[in-house]
Symmetry: C2
Subunit: 345 residues, 2 copies
């Protein structure tokens, strides 16, 4: 009898916020690796906001997941069969195995993970795509300078917490935004933000802006954009001349049905455009997968700081592949505390 | 009897498009230059879209003109009295004399203009602020590369025509947008654009986009933004990955009453923001007055090309200071053909 694996597929495209019915658990035979390929038994998989984009069929920087296709995602696990000299059974590897218990990938698409260097889950967060996204966007696009003020939302997430910690180490005033008092406490006490504002305590952008003004007396020089929505609207008029805005995401708008409901938002396109003009802002979108050439340098710098505890890590672990849809829906609602992962085995 | 001068003041702030009632012609004594100052008899003054912004009291990069204050603007004329060693009567100088027949400025705020180098009106357009705006935004922010495609609106204006001509000389495909068949003909035949699209022939952004697609088969790499509105909406989905958007203005929205009517525009802030993200665009606002240190280099490069006729110049001259309001209102409606100036003496 063939070994069985489980995977979660996209059953239907969501209309707004995803529901459990958009996902389907399926079983099948564990695949056999071909020439140069490696079979991995997944231990942990990552859940990230970008996956919401893959569920729509709108044009984006990546193709959508087809209906019936396995949900995409990064994961880390143990090699159980290898047709490549680069990996042997017992090795650990990170790869895009999707929401599944097993996966086959060409060896060249995998990154070896050494369990002796720390928890393998770091490859999904602080030392993986999200952490690198925060580091690269801040340092390369944000161009931080000591004494400046930085604002980042989702401050306790794996991107925002990296942005805040690296910016603080450079000498910036760091102001986080997060949902709820517990997250704000974590942002300040664990991740060292100078201040953190609970966006749930502010019904509209204007109220949120007043709170930001109190914490950013010299305005905002860098707004690291990962949420859009109310936070963007609050921040834009506070940007200092020559401010920088790296954009890696806009989670507040991911469930907006093609972003159409923005048509009635108080922040209009002309206002947004005018803010860029009158304060000479630099706004740049990026996706970290275009910058893997700089990943080794990132690992060399940040890896030791994670090992030493200088860079803090908080993970939120859901137990079992079957919990992935619920955990993902929760992630989009901000229910997770720290990097959301799923323990698969 | 003291010599008399005329000036045009801001009588009231416009509600939407300016009308002649927003302006008032006033007379008074010609001012006397103080220590280090120079008195100039204005020959030609410039009319530029940015002046619309100065009529509102919204926060911008420059203070608004106060009610009763002289309308701001650059002008060129002859020195008739000088308390500075840097200028003597008979010299020609460019300065911010406003909408007036005479003006006093500190010598250090003036730029000497040599009439033997060509028409002094060039200092208002092709070799002045607008030409330098186009040159700087294109070369420093647009980072043009041979073989790429550039789109610029107001293609026969002093900014757009500079952008198009410099881009063409670097080897880009240049596609202009202008209002009316006459301007499109001028863009192609005089300024050398590869193609020019009449935006008046397209009721909405979608129709305009189809026309752009026909002329930009490889997409758009640089969109030089000086208009906003329908053109921006048409262009954004056509931007190629890693495209660049220098923003120097958004004339389509200047009469929009604080940009509020954008709230119902089809181009929403979320859509605009998403376009920047998914194509990794670089968007940067700028005002040329932050970059005067590079003006001599611009003059050295472009001055000889204007003199040789390699860079073409078209001017639209209104006769008499009293015609300035009408000419300015026409400028905002796109009625001018080429750089709009006013002959004052």
């Amino acid at each position: 009898m063939t070994d069985q694996m489980q995977r979660i597929t996209l059953a239907s495209r969501p209309d707004g916020a995803p529901t459990p019915n958009n996902f389907k658990m399926e079983s099948g035979a564990v695949p056999t690796p071909g020439d140069g390929e490696v079979l991995v038994r997944v231990h942990y998989m990552s859940l990230d906001p970008y996956m919401r984009g893959r569920m729509d069929d709108a044009k984006s920087y990546a193709a959508p997941v087809p209906i019936g296709g396995t949900m995409e995602g990064g994961a880390v696990g143990e090699v159980i069969a290898s047709n490549s000299d680069a990996f042997k059974p017992g090795d650990f590897a990170f790869g895009m195995f999707g929401w599944a218990t097993h996966g086959v990938q060409p060896a060249k698409m995998l990154r070896k993970v050494d369990p002796s260097h720390g928890p393998i889950t770091a490859s999904l967060g602080v030392l993986g795509m999200p952490g690198f996204t925060g580091y690269h966007g801040l340092t390369e696009i944000g161009r931080p300078k000591s004494g400046e003020t930085l604002v980042v939302a989702a401050a306790t997430g794996p991107v925002g917490s990296m942005v805040g910690q690296v910016a603080k180490s450079i000498g910036l005033r760091t102001v986080g935004i997060a949902g709820g008092a517990d997250k704000c406490k974590m942002a300040v006490e664990t991740f060292g933000f100078d201040a953190c504002i609970d966006h749930r305590a502010h019904d509209d952008a204007k109220s949120l802006r007043e709170a930001l003004k109190a914490e950013c007396p010299k305005g905002i020089d860098i707004y690291f954009e990962n949420v859009g929505g109310k936070v963007l609207e609050a921040v834009m008029p506070m940007m200092n001349p020559h401010g920088r805005i790296p954009i890696c995401g806009m989670i507040a708008w991911y469930n907006a049905g093609g972003l159409g409901d923005g048509a009635n938002a108080p922040l209009t396109a002309p206002k947004l455009w005018r803010n860029i003009l009158v304060n000479f802002l630099s706004v740049q979108g990026f996706i970290i997968s275009n910058h893997w050439d700089k990943f080794p340098a990132f690992l060399s710098e940040i890896g030791p700081k994670v090992a030493s505890g200088e860079i803090k890590v908080v993970e939120d672990v859901a137990e079992g592949l079957e919990k992935a849809p619920e955990a993902f829906i929760g992630l989009l609602q901000g229910k997770n505390m720290g990097k959301q992962i799923v323990k698969v085995v």
